[in-house]
Symmetry: C2
Subunit: 345 residues, 2 copies
Amino acid sequence: MSEDVFGRFVARVRGQVDAWLASWLEARIEIARRRGPAVHAVAEAMAELVLRGGKRLRPALLAASYEACGGEGGADAVVPAGAALELLQGYLLVHDDWMDGDDVRRGGPSVPARMAERFPAVPEAASVLAGDLGSAWAIEAFSALTLAPARAMAAVAELGTLHADVVQGQVLDVCAEANDAAEVEAVHRLKTASYTTTGPVRMGARLAGAAEGQVGALAAFAEPLGIAFQLRDDVLGTFGNARVMGKPSGGDLREGKRTALVLHAKADPHASAAVAAVLGRADAGDSDVARAVEALEACGARARVEARIDALAREAREALARAEIPAEKRTLLEGAVGLLTTRER
Amino acid sequence: MSEDVFGRFVARVRGQVDAWLASWLEARIEIARRRGPAVHAVAEAMAELVLRGGKRLRPALLAASYEACGGEGGADAVVPAGAALELLQGYLLVHDDWMDGDDVRRGGPSVPARMAERFPAVPEAASVLAGDLGSAWAIEAFSALTLAPARAMAAVAELGTLHADVVQGQVLDVCAEANDAAEVEAVHRLKTASYTTTGPVRMGARLAGAAEGQVGALAAFAEPLGIAFQLRDDVLGTFGNARVMGKPSGGDLREGKRTALVLHAKADPHASAAVAAVLGRADAGDSDVARAVEALEACGARARVEARIDALAREAREALARAEIPAEKRTLLEGAVGLLTTRER
């Protein structure tokens, strides 16, 4: 099955990227240590977050796209580019956790939580600087690539663009308010698809020296996939199985996220009231949250989002069918559609 | 005189970089505008800060180094790289102003001040994101270079390293406390020299395809120059002419900066007491501040810092004398030593 094919590919890339990052970050931490205990603490916290986990989906998509475009040497040749994506994500997570006041990330303390403990006088500055360091490291790591420099430079341009996109998506999410499901998708496209699917796939294609048409064809596959991935995240954040997710259902409601689910519910007076009673209330009671979750199901909001995920997955598969890539690589990328849109956590 | 030569060179580079940035940022703002009013406001504030001024010393040093290493096409060929440095500086200034709570920058409202007005509910997140956008734009702008890609990639590595260095310098400055003048210089090396002199000069040399030895020779010139530049800034921040600087003397004292001046004064009981009475007190009276400023002069702290600036300038000139570059370019870079270490503001 294509999902298993992609699953095995992800596992292989994860092993390579994790090993590369462990050794590369060890050298960075040594540099930081010589610069004094404060620098060491910030660098160590950032590195630890990056090494603590994450599925490494982004490096895998980059590598799969690279292979689909006939990139020389296969996935092995683009490990530093995948590592750069993980460092970039580490930076985004740290700034995100600081903005949201989240203390837990990847099953451990978030970097802002660690900074608050280590630098009680300047926890916020230390948190933002830890993120900034991750952003700088992403460029340093990327420059360790030993591919043809013209291709590497084309991928640098993509890296700059995806970075600008994701920051603007975060602005939309934090500083503006989505009014309908279409606006939610605009945020998902910029804030999630940019650095999760579209950017990595475009970078992989550029690194392989793909022609403009092929880059565009793969991007047409990647963008709906990235939006569907985030919609799945929204569904899990509300309906997720507490045991599998490691956090209670309805979490997104308590956090006040205006997901597509919440916006669809606006048309239904009962669901709308049930949601309003708990939205953004961290101390909302379990039974009230359960009622809101049920109402989102009963009013058809969940079904609408599931239908939209299906439509986006279909769009991704159709774009893939049109792309001129070897059949074997098409199967690999098809597996990503299954894995990213039907995951349980 | 070499200072005039470098002054004219800076003016020429400034014209090119300003024109390039104006047109390039106009296109970025148009992209942001289509993404909604919040994104537009953040992008516009960031772009406006970058276009509002700055001496463009960093692009000039990059371009001078490029020419010194025989870079093809001269300064004209590296304008996007200089623009990238200005965007990077914009990002650093925004995160800096947010950390310090500074409302004024480059003779106008700082980006955090504008964000507080535009996004009263999330001023801090908007400020950090504006900076993040500048950081992303730096990479995008850099990738507009049309030089030999192998050279561009070598400069990308330098850009990543200088970014990591300046962030770690900021950590040292904000999260730790310098105990003596040597530790102050360690901060200056990382926080100022990295992105003001060493990084730009190394990038210029890489873009010209300079050999490792030549890159090192120019870095040996740039690093003491950058430290001297920041020590001059410290002297101006305490003794600066209020009329020329546009802000009262003793400003650094009220802001609580532990400069080399302040640390040298620790050895003198009278100066130490006079400084302690105003250090970090925004509401300190003018006469008390004036007394502290006089004490820093009387105890010899100013003379020690001036002597150190002279020694560093000499070190830079000696390194330049050893570098294998054309005489005309040596004169150009010698001018930078004069301009950066004897400036009045």
